[in-house]
């Protein structure tokens, strides 16, 4: 058996090397090869993890949350393997273990922190038993692949029910994620963000769940953060937002990032994030909750979060000559709405680039762009200089902008990514802001790396503990 595993690992590693020599990224190929050589590769490799396996699933924020958890654990001196680049199907997860294993098939790590695709979650937990599962949120995403949202929630719920002895870390602000605590009966730790005063957020957004997931009555919201995240309660069955065990309060924006106070049973501390995007606060709070659950002290958790650098396309920063450029991965209406809010929060004029692809990994149905609140752009035209639409469905993207009220004179359609990015970079605005769907992201990033300079994250100031 050991020989089989060793052969599988070697096969995987060779395929990775070959694929890289051929210019590929090779993120899940080693997993495919290893599983073909020895089908129990993943099970055998994962069983060697010493202290615990953490899984992160949900619609948005998986990659960021998982990378933050890994940084937090590393800051606490733990040895961690994690699928950093977001290869989150069973093959990608196998590949991650292959990469960290030596050629005899042994691993010497304390934790595995794995982001797992929602639809693959049942398959993965059959081979790897998680000790902690983080569920970030459920939004509409790639309906043609998953069917409808209800089914996705159902799939995750059934898989969780099949597990014993697991702790769930759940987003209290999302009724669809939070209900999993009650429904599965597992021990649950909730995280969330308190009501924010004076933050103006789009209200006309598509909201997933206005109905009580337990009894079907319309939920009452006292406030919304975005999409269906907020303070809710059911008037008939009393299902409501659970009191978070880890809660962000007093959120403020600092130098393009966020600062928040974090309160939990024993007191409060604070975190500073050098990443734009309100949603990243949720990701940080989830990582904070994991760190505390695993017994790390607040300073260590903070140090880890501040060590986090965005993965590809999660608000990656570049500089073209003197012009700042931001790259933002978009996958679904909620993520896009948050991206637009971030775009409009940047002061000064902007050149906007929007790449829309309809390959399988993007979702072949691009109807979802009509659920994005692009109408908000028409209200800020004075600061939006140009819109360059690209990708396999560039025309459709342009059409969406037109019906949102953006004048066609500001919209250009250029199918070729490189020419389109060049136009945005060379535009006269102060900042270039680039949106790309999944399969447009890697090519866009490599074009940016060639044309512009990648910017390192700024050093972060000392954070206070109170």
């Amino acid at each position: 058996m050991r020989l089989c595993l060793s052969a599988a690992v070697i096969g995987g590693k060779i395929s990775s090397l070959m694929s890289k020599l051929a210019g590929g990224r090779g993120s899940s190929l080693p997993g495919v090869v290893a599983r073909r050589i020895y089908s129990r590769s993943l099970k055998k490799l994962a069983s060697q993890i010493k202290s615990g396996v953490i899984m992160v699933t949900g619609t948005n924020g998986k990659t960021t949350t998982n990378n933050m958890i890994a940084k937090v654990l590393e800051a606490g001196g733990r040895r961690v393997i994690y699928n950093e680049e977001g290869a989150n199907l069973i093959t990608g997860i196998t590949a991650c273990f292959v990469r960290f294993s030596n050629i005899t098939g042994s691993l010497d790590y304390d934790y595995a922190s794995l982001e797992v695709d929602e639809a693959s979650f049942p398959k993965v937990v059959k081979e790897v038993k998680p000790d902690i599962v983080v569920v970030t949120n459920f939004f509409r995403d790639q309906l043609d692949r998953y069917g409808e949202l209800d089914k996705t929630v159902q799939v995750v719920k059934s898989a969780l029910e099949s597990l014993n002895d697991v702790t769930l870390i759940l987003n209290a602000d999302d009724p669809l994620a939070a209900q999993l605590g009650l429904l599965t009966g597992h021990k649950a730790v909730y995280y969330g963000i308190d009501r924010q005063e004076g933050t103006e957020r789009a209200v006309a957004q598509t909201r997933e769940s206005r109905f009580c997931p337990r009894c079907g009555t319309e939920l009452h919201y006292s406030y919304y953060h975005y999409s269906q995240l907020g303070g809710y309660r059911c008037p008939s069955c009393h299902f409501k937002r659970p009191k978070p065990d880890v809660e962000g309060t007093d959120v403020s924006t600092v130098n393009g990032g966020y600062s928040t106070r974090v309160c939990f049973s024993e007191g409060c501390s604070s975190i500073n994030l050098q990443t734009a995007g309100f949603y990243n606060l949720y990701n940080a709070l989830a990582a904070f909750a994991v760190g505390r659950l695993l017994g790390l002290d607040n300073e260590t958790v903070q140090a880890g979060l501040e060590r986090y650098t965005p993965a590809i396309g999660r608000m990656e920063r570049f500089r073209y000559r003197d012009k700042p450029c931001l790259l933002n991965l978009v996958k679904n209406p909620t993520g896009y709405n948050e991206g637009l809010a971030t775009l409009l929060s940047i002061p000064g004029s902007k050149d906007v680039f929007m790449a829309l692809n309809d390959n399988a990994a993007d979702g072949r149905d691009i109807s979802w762009i009509w659920d994005v609140d692009f109408e908000i752009l028409a209200r800020h035209l004075d600061e939006l200089q140009s819109f360059t639409c690209s990708g396999t469905r560039a025309e459709e993207m342009a059409l969406r902008l037109k019906y949102a009220g953006v004048p066609t004179s500001r919209i250009t359609v250029i199918g070729d990514l490189e020419s389109a990015i060049t136009v945005s970079l060379q535009g006269e605005a102060e900042t270039a802001y680039l949106f790309a769907t999944y399969t447009a992201l890697w090519p866009s990033q490599s074009i940016l790396c060639r044309l512009a300079e990648k910017e390192e994250q700024h050093a972060v100031g000392m954070s206070s503990v109170s």
Binding site: R140, L143, D144, G147, E148, L149, D150, T206, R207, R210, F211, G216, E218, R364, D365, I366, S367, W368, I369, W370, D371, R393, E395, E396, A398, L399, R400, K402, Y403, T408, I411, V413
Partner: protein, 240 residues
């Protein structure tokens, strides 16, 4: 003033179908045709006589059941409005609901509103993918593109299809029909959404709505370059 009514947008908000309402409204506004939108929520009353264009979309299973129960209350008035020539666009789940029944995988028959003559049977595999159809509008043949994603197979009775499938599945993947059409009611499985990149259909609906209201139905031409480009991209891809 044209009055557009979007039924239960908070329930039936899947697949970007609100883009259909947006397209109808914008193409009226761009021509200076006064238009207003009312969004009807659960429990609210509707006066179909005040409506010139009614949009009914699809939702997830649970939400669709809620909608069906709600619409049942308005069934007779809706049927009367249909007979009187109310212009309706109904997509996917909304389309199925106007028919006689929906037979589930277990053979259970869930009654529809029974306003139009067709029924739907659940299938094992969902019919998912890009789709191109051919429609006759005022004697002119138009090629429309969209995206379908439905588990149910619809079989037409004594009613005309909306169009003929050129590529994709359509009503049931077998008989080459897509959607249904009765008086001024247009039903289809096409998401995408249907109206924005098929402006001839949108304009046809606007004309019918104007006529129904007794208004002048000549439409000023608009610049449809982007609409046609978006449509062409898919036609080229699908009709090689």
């Amino acid at each position: 003033m044209l009055s557009v009514c979007h039924l239960y947008p908070d329930l039936l908000n899947l697949y970007g179908d609100r883009g259909n309402v947006l397209a109808f409204l914008q193409r009226c506004r761009w021509r200076g045709i006064p238009v207003k939108l009312s969004e009807i929520k659960m429990g609210e009353s509707i006066d179909f006589n005040q409506v010139d264009f009614l949009f009914l979309g699809g939702g997830s299973d649970r939400e669709q059941n809620l909608m069906a129960a709600e619409l049942e209350k308005h069934r007779d008035k809706l049927k009367e409005a249909v007979e009187n020539g109310l212009v309706i666009l109904s997509i996917c789940g909304g389309y199925q609901l106007l028919g006689k029944f929906y037979r589930t995988i277990n053979g259970e028959e869930i009654p529809g509103l029974g306003i139009l003559d067709y029924y739907t049977v659940a299938g094992e595999e969902r019919l998912i993918g890009n789709v191109t159809i051919e429609i006759e509008l005022d004697g002119k043949t138009v090629k429309a593109t969209g995206f379908e994603n439905h588990g149910g197979r619809t079989y037409l009775g004594n009613i005309k299809p909306l169009g003929r499938v050129l590529a994709g599945y359509g009503n049931n993947g077998r008989d080459g029909t897509e959607g249904a059409r009765y008086k001024n009611v247009f039903c289809s499985y096409l998401h995408g959404p249907l109206l924005p990149k098929n402006p001839e259909i949108t304009d046809h609906l606007i004309k019918l709505a104007l006529k129904h209201r007794g208004m002048e139905a000549e439409l000023t031409p608009l610049d449809d370059t982007l609409e046609n480009m978006a449509n062409e991209t898919m036609l080229k891809r699908m009709l090689k």
